[in-house]
């Protein structure tokens, strides 16, 4: 048995009209991990999820899901899926929804009955079991949807925007459910816009941009070499020049981004550059950010600042958040502009930059 719950080697999808939604996805998800899929609108996240769930047929697909080729219908008996914007028939009651979709998943009647009660309890919907879905709020439908995805006791759970429309309490409950699934050694694949949510629950993430995987790995792996220290000072007086203060405290020459030197520094709102040893420097108002994880490297800077009589308001080690990673991934390194959302229409014209 493969250790990978998902092993995608080349997944591509071109819609009619030559819209290239996916351009060859390479992705692997280990069994038992919580994997987050993120990306801007139109990046192809939902298309990828729908291909895995056989809702959409891929133009090209090499890879496996739970050891079988993607699209292998019987494998879906071991997969639970919560679609984005799902809609359950209004004429069904909560318990009937679970029973119906459990049956569609091939779960025997006795087991369905047992699991219906258990799952409604887990998602906090027991009191609504005999009420029609038509009267449910968005959050309640989402909770029921998660219960539905778990009816077949799946090895892999695919959740597409699970916290969409859910209040903070509901979001916390969903995080608890995901944690519980991880404890039960199930693989969870989450597609979400809420980066903070993903950051809290995911072991690994992949960032999808314009139909390709821009980066994937654990948050630690993705942030290697991106730790920094932030020093915030208290402006010493009226018209104080924070930029000059920091400049005087930094060792040696500071090269500004784009090749200029610190000699030409003026009173700017911000500055980006690097020290002679390559350590990045970023100054924004009264905050200095040094791109190093080494605490020894910042001691001389603190000493120099103190020597100037500057009061240090705060000093903190900073690690990039998932949002930072996301923004890096969706920013064009050449122009510094965010990439346009959506899939490209033509391979040449709209190729991912």
């Amino acid at each position: 048995m493969s250790d990978l719950a998902l092993d995608l080697q080349h997944v591509a999808k071109t819609y009619k009209g030559k819209v290239k939604a996916l351009r060859g996805i390479e992705m692997s998800v280990a069994r038992g991990e919580v994997f987050g899929l993120l990306g801007p609108n139109g990046a192809g996240k939902s298309t990828l999820v729908k291909i895995l769930m056989t809702v959409i047929s891929p133009s090209e697909c090499r890879g496996s899901m739970l050891g079988h080729a993607v699209g292998h219908k019987p494998t879906l008996a071991n997969v639970g899926y919560l679609p984005e914007h799902h809609r359950f028939p209004k004429y069904l009651k909560g318990a009937q929804v679970l029973d119906f979709f459990g049956a569609m998943g091939g779960v025997p009647r006795r087991e369905r009955k047992l699991r219906t009660g258990q799952l409604l309890e887990i998602v906090g919907m027991s009191e609504w079991a005999k009420k029609k879905v038509g009267g449910y709020s968005k959050g309640m439908r989402q909770r029921l949807g998660i219960a539905q995805a778990l009816m077949n006791d799946p090895k892999l759970v695919v959740l597409d925007e699970p916290t969409d429309g859910v209040d903070p309490v509901g979001r916390r409950d969903i995080r608890d459910i995901v944690a519980r699934l991880r404890d039960e050694q199930r693989t969870v694949f989450i597609n979400s816009h809420l980066l903070s949510e993903l950051e809290m629950v995911c072991d690994r993430v992949a960032i999808l941009v314009q139909g390709t995987v821009r980066s994937q790995g654990t948050i630690d792996e993705l942030t290697v070499g991106q730790d920094s220290y932030e020093i915030e000072i208290l402006p010493s007086g009226e018209g104080a020049d924070a930029l000059g203060t920091f400049r005087r405290a930094l060792p040696g020459e500071v090269n500004a981004a784009g090749g200029a030197t610190s000699a030409g520094l003026t009173k700017l709102a911000g500055f980006r550059g690097s020290l002679a040893d390559g350590t990045s420097v970023e100054i924004e108002k009264s905050t200095l950010r040094l791109g190093t994880a080494d605490p020894h490297a910042i001691e001389p800077v603190i000493d120099a600042l103190r020597a100037q009589g500057v009061t240090i308001r705060s000093l903190r080690q900073r690690r990039p958040s998932l949002e930072d990673l996301f923004m890096q991934a969706v920013t064009d390194p050449e122009t510094g502009q965010s990439l346009k959302p959506g899939a490209a229409k033509d391979a040449k014209k709209g190729a991912a930059r």
């Binding site: 809702v55 959409i56 679609p83 809609r87 049956a103």
Partner: protein, 388 residues
């Protein structure tokens, strides 16, 4: 597999039940049965509840109670109620099954389950047919009891209505499924199916008219032939009298007339026009026959809705039963029909019925099912290939 199929059936029932139409249709069916039971026949004529309508042709002295009820079932129970009212209600109820299935937010969840798309679509299709089966069964059971209790004869053949009406409905439902799949709209599926049904009805009506005209022309050609034979017999008799009197037949110039036909025409001046009429009517019958063949070709590729329902009449009423009900046995004179339209001639009605019954069950069902399979096949291909 059975778990999923059963789940889909239960879900379809819940969906129909939620629309209330299932029960409304069921009540209407029971109402139709009650109406059927309220009808009756006495020595004086037909009855409705306690009212009697005096009728010299329709009373128990001429028609048995059993035949009366059978005829009512075949005359309006099948062609009016089951073929039109119940079918429209069934279409209204089931037209939404596929559009609802493929609507956004629903189909994704269903397709993510370990069930093939072909089986999913066909099971949903069968769910629609099961709805109609239940409705027709209730109506047939009611009519069966009315026939047994009121008509004095339990006729199990009546239950043939169930598979036949379901088969008839399945032709239309296959079109409804295809349109629902393409348009994703219940309203469009319903309306366009009704339009298709109307088109089939028009072709059937055309067939009925052309067939009646062809049979009418054939009957008239036969009448003309009989008339010609009578004229010939009359001419031969006159020739014989002529020969006995010793008078030689001559033309206007005094020359003797040669040849039997010429001599016959000379003694019976109506003979020439009779011959002309035979030729004219045979040509007319031939022309109508050609039109019949053309319409048949169009009918062959379309589902035979009317003929499929007509199969019930074949089982329920024999030709002898029908003839009893037609004017042929009530002192009909062919001479009265000389200039009457084809539909007014009871002989044409009989021959028309015979001709329609002459169309084999294989042709009626086989070609219709072939159409249905084609339409469903197309729907299945679309459903299997579509990205949702």
């Amino acid at each position: 597999m059975i778990i999923q199929t059963w789940a889909l059936l239960v879900d379809a029932y819940r969906e129909l039940n939620a629309k209330k139409l299932f029960w409304i249709t069921m009540l209407l069916n029971l109402g139709a049965v009650a109406l059927f039971a309220a009808l009756g026949i006495s020595e004086r004529g037909p009855t409705f509840l306690h009212w009697t309508f005096d009728n010299d042709l329709m009373n128990t002295r001429l028609v048995s109670k059993e035949l009366f009820y059978k005829t009512q079932f075949v005359s309006w129970g099948i062609p009016v109620w089951l073929s039109w009212v119940a079918t429209i209600l069934a279409l209204v109820s089931t037209a939404g099954l596929i559009p609802e299935l493929i609507s956004g937010g629903v189909i994704e969840t269903v397709l993510s389950k370990p069930i093939g798309r072909v089986r999913l679509l066909l099971t949903k299709y069968l769910c629609g047919l099961l709805f109609v089966t239940a409705q027709v069964f209730v109506f047939s059971l009611g009519c069966f009891l009315v026939l047994g209790i009121r008509g004095g004869s339990f006729v199990p053949e009546l239950f043939v209505a169930v598979p036949i009406v379901v088969l008839f409905f399945s032709y239309l439902f296959s079109v409804c499924v295809l349109i629902g799949l393409v348009t994703r709209s219940t309203i469009a599926a319903l309306l366009l199916t009704v339009v298709f049904w109307f088109a089939v009805f028009i072709v059937n009506l055309g067939d009925e008219i052309v067939l009646a005209q062809a049979e009418g022309a054939a009957v008239k050609a036969e009448d003309a032939q009989k008339n010609l034979e009578n004229q010939i017999t009359l001419a031969d008799r006159l020739l014989e009298q002529q020969a006995q009197s010793g008078v030689e037949l001559a033309d206007a110039d005094g020359n003797p007339i040669e040849g039997l036909d010429a001599r016959r025409e000379a003694v019976n001046i109506a003979l020439a026009s009779s011959r002309a009429r035979v030729t004219e009517r045979e040509e007319s019958a031939e022309q109508w026959q050609k039109w019949t063949d053309r319409v048949m070709l169009a009918k062959t590729i379309l589902p035979k809705t009317q003929e499929t329902i007509g199969l019930l009449s074949r089982y329920m009423l024999s030709m002898d039963d029908l003839k009893k009900m037609m004017a042929e046995d009530a002192g009909f004179d062919p001479e009265d029909m000389e200039d009457a339209p084809a539909f007014a001639d009871p002989r044409v009605a009989t021959r028309l019925e015979e001709r329609k019954r002459g169309r084999t069950v294989f042709w009626v069902i086989g070609t219709s099912v072939a159409f249905e399979v084609l339409v469903l096949g197309l729907a299945t291909v679309i459903f299997v290939r579509r990205d949702f």
